[in-house]
């Protein structure tokens, strides 16, 4: 961390740079300032520098909000270090503020003594007024608690890109790369991956690539030659020692999910038919798969959410792997059709990249508030398998697991991700997909020896009979079917039996679920913190920190929401208290209380922002004090 009580104690390395074990930077600007790209490039450069890292893209739902306004501020936060990094960081050490609004919005998140890089070129009266500043914060004592580097980045960028003949508007759009170059020097990052990226990205407009490259180099050069307090702005974050050797790339949750689906379908030896309707923040999965047609993947943008899930069901009915993807409001629309897939017992994978609700809610902000919807949000007794990804790269594993369970058990599987996981990126050890075990499905090719309603003794799954197969013609649908023949049945005992079978089939998935393990801490004790999904990072860091302080607390993170791992109940019974932090009003805690009759305590947050480590630490301390 840059900010300490006594900065002089930070050791200098042989190049005169202060060596840090981690740092948090937040890039903030107008929604048109390219802050997400800037952050993405810094992430890449940091990953290449072999640091551990975690990112948090935080942007408004307006595509281009009026310039200079606080509600149009788009930010990207990265926490990186040589130590283990589990969250995107509570407070930041460095803020890059491209305009007054960005400064105004982000100031509260800065550590005292933190560094602020501001573009003075954007601090004119009009922008100050739009941001709600009565006076220029660079000229009064607003920033007295911080170390401010105030530069006219706009003018410096214009100077740097003059040779490329861009319009002034285009030239000013290179500002973010100038600032990035400056920060690259501060943190000793290699510019080459970004220069390569610019060349590819603007292959059709080389002058844009060259101008941005020039801006990047100019920012870097100015930082290097600028007269600054010695050592104060030069940092070194050494490589993390614990990185597993291998070939890496960065991956977002959306990419990992899309690729996991493609790999899952391949392992099942099925064609992937992906059916979706555009919705924030789930659309990147649709985009990624739409660019993969050469993998024989069908990607279908339907007319609405209901059509998307129904087309996926139709595809599964006809022998492909039907997948649909959305966010909370869209999942609500799909509910009836998911019930149809449960009733006709066909595979279906549903991806829910959750966002803040209810209704339209906060489309670009994250939340975990669709858990109860996933478990119970359908008419009738309608069990589906629910699993939850904990990180961007975990989406890859979860998507494959969903494909496996859906095809083996002939059941819908819902995968819960969220806006944070979907957009955030992290370094990823690229898996050898050829080494993964196939789970090809046995689909009957003729009527011989097969009966469309005969269940597998172990999984209770019906055979996957697909149209085109002679001798197995049959009718199915949403009306209740006879257990024996599969024909319509209104028999009361049969409905009881079929309801039981559907529930037992889903419960039986537990045989393919690994036992629940403890992430960190002892297997029993006074307190366990139980999480699921994207809260993994902050919970794990908070628990680890407090264990280091000598407190007795453990972290359990549940991936299989339904059915739950079979040892979960006995595992939790070994703890005196159970704390369940969630980005919702208390959902998983209800399920745990219901299933296990335990006095689990909730820690809830619904601000559209991830947990801070300190919030979880405080709650753990309170629990431990109450236990005494």
């Amino acid at each position: 961390m840059i900010v300490t009580d006594s900065p002089t104690e930070i050791p200098l390395n042989e190049n005169g740079r202060q060596t840090l074990d981690s740092a948090v930077i937040r890039f903030a600007g107008d929604s048109g300032d390219g802050m997400q790209i800037t952050g993405g490039q810094f992430t890449l450069a940091t990953a290449v520098a072999l640091n551990n890292l975690s990112t948090f893209p935080d942007y408004p739902s307006e595509i281009r909000a009026p310039t200079g306004t606080t509600f149009g501020v788009s930010s990207f936060q990265i926490n990186f270090g040589s130590r283990v990094v589990k969250t995107s960081g509570d407070e930041f050490d460095v803020l890059v503020a491209m305009n007054p609004a960005a400064l105004k919005v982000e100031l509260h998140g800065l550590k005292t003594g933190a560094i602020i890089l501001v573009d003075t070129g954007s601090f004119q009266d009009r922008n100050l007024h739009r941001a709600g500043y009565g006076s220029n914060p660079l000229e009064d004592d607003t920033l007295s608690a911080y170390r401010v580097i105030a530069l006219d980045i706009a003018q410096l960028t214009l100077d740097a890109v003059t040779p490329f003949g861009l319009s002034k508007k285009e030239a000013l759009r290179c500002k973010n790369f100038w600032a990035l170059g400056f920060i690259y020097w501060m943190f000793e990052r290699d510019r080459q991956p970004t220069l390569d990226w610019l060349k590819t990205k603007f292959a059709k407009r080389p002058e844009i690539a060259e101008a941005n490259s020039a801006a990047l180099n100019a920012g870097h050069a100015l930082a290097e030659t600028m007269e600054m307090a010695e050592g104060l702005y030069q940092f070194s974050v050494p490589r993390a020692p614990d990185i597993q050797p291998g070939l890496y790339r960065t991956v977002t949750g959306a990419e990992a999910m899309a690729w996991g689906l493609a790999v899952g379908a391949k392992l099942a030896d099925l064609k992937l038919v992906f059916c979706s309707y555009p919705i924030t923040p789930a659309s990147p999965i649709l985009h990624t798969l739409s660019h993969m047609v050469e993998q024989d993947i069908v990607s279908f943008q339907a007319e609405d959410e209901i059509a998307a899930v129904c087309a996926a069901i139709g595809a599964s009915y006809a022998g492909a792997l039907g997948v649909t993807s959305s966010s909370g409001p869209g999942i609500a629309l799909k509910a009836e059709a998911i019930g149809l897939a449960v009733s006709i017992e066909h595979p279906l994978v549903i991806i829910n990249t959750q966002r803040a609700g209810p209704s339209t809610g906060l489309p670009t902000k994250t939340e975990q508030s669709d858990l109860l919807q996933a478990l119970y949000g359908r008419n009738g007794d309608c069990p589906v398998v629910v699993i939850a990804a904990r990180s961007p790269s975990d989406c890859f594993e979860m998507a494959i697991e969903a494909c496996h369970i859906a095809t083996k058990y002939m059941t819908p599987v819902m995968v819960l991700s969220d806006g944070y996981i979907g957009n955030a990126s992290e370094p990823w050890l690229i898996p050898d997909i050829d080494a993964l075990d196939s789970f090809a499905v046995d689909i009957p090719t003729s009527g011989e020896g097969h009966d469309h309603s005969e269940r597998d003794d172990e999984t209770l799954a019906r055979p996957w009979v697909i149209p085109g197969t002679p001798g197995l013609e049959h009718r199915t649908g949403g009306l209740e079917k006879s257990f024996e023949t599969g024909e319509i049945s209104y028999d009361p005992d049969n409905h009881q039996k079929m309801t039981d079978v559907r529930a037992d089939k889903v419960k039986g998935v537990v045989r393919d679920i690994e036992d629940q393990t403890v992430e960190v801490g002892a297997d029993s004790g006074p307190l366990v913190v139980v999480g699921w999904g994207s809260t993994y990072g902050p919970i794990n860091r908070a628990v680890s920190n407090l264990i280091d302080e000598g407190l007795s607390v453990s972290h359990v993170h549940v991936r299989n929401i339904w059915p739950m791992p079979k040892n979960l109940e006995s595992l939790l019974s070994g703890f005196q208290r159970v704390l369940v932090p969630e980005l919702n009003d208390g959902q998983f805690v209800k399920v745990l209380r219901d299933q296990f009759l335990i006095d689990a305590q909730a820690l809830n947050k619904v601000s559209g922002q991830p947990f801070k480590i300190s919030e979880i630490e405080d709650a753990i301390r309170a629990q431990l004090e109450a236990a005494q």
Binding site: L44, A262, D296, F300, G319, G322, G468, E473
Partner: protein
Amino acid sequence: MTNPSQAPKPTAKDFASSQEVRWCPGCGDYAIVKAVQRTLADVEAKTENTVFVSGIGCASRLPYYMATYGLHAIHGRAPAIATGIKLANPELDVWVVSGDGDALAIGGNHFIHLVRRNVDVQFLLFNNEVYGLTKGQFSPTSRAGTKSPSSPLGCVENPMSAAQLALGAGAYFVARGVDTAQKQLTKTLTRAYEFTGTAFVEIFQNCIVFNDGAFAGFTDKDKSAEMQIHVEHGQPLLFGNDNAKGLRIRPDALELEVVTIGENGISESDVLVHDETNKALATLLAAMSEPDFPVAMGILYCQSGPTFEVELRKKVKKATSESTKSLADILHQGHTWTVTEDT
């Protein structure tokens, strides 16, 4: 070519399932299912390659009575499910069976987009101008003033024209028939089967319990000749007893008018000749209604056009053949870096 000595020609019965039919006695659906089964026998369809998909409503029970594959799905969504089936396997012959509530109210969106995309299916809309299965409420095709359990004072909504909606949505095949007119209906269904793309067939179907006689004005034996016109490609648009009447474009306005052969100097040569590839004509024909005009039956519009699943497949095939990229390659594209033990 089928060799009759090897495979006996199928009969309509070969396409009937063993399920007991549960429509009300006298329902028009009996006639329609019979026409469908006869059509499949005529074209020598294969039961295993045929799929009937339906939503909810009386019409939507039809799949249960077919010896083919059948999926009785949820209300209004059959077009979307059929689209998914074709995306997975374009070789299957898919029939969507729907009603006026299912296709035009709750499923209206899916209907127009199925038609717009020209997915290669047969779409049969059983129009009885009423909700039958829920006991008699007015539907999107019920006429203004219809009294029903949910509109005791008379419905104040205007009905929609399914054929005009289909044309407006970009349908390449629009046809009409009457449940009891078996011969014509089978002929129309055969053309629908042969057509590549969404073949939309509106079938006027009498609901004997909740809306009996809704179409009597043009289907009763003594009215049908005067109040229906059976359009046929290349043939003059004649109708009425002894084909004494015809349709022509009004000389002073862009609209149809009914003329009588032999009156006011009108001869058969003044009558329009049906061109099923002419969308403007099809639009005028679809709009004709009682009492001023006969109701047009037969193939109103038929024009070949690109189908969704084939165009999509072409793109996939082209991309697949032009690329040697594997899934592993995709995971490796973009910036990668290697971490070694002692970097």
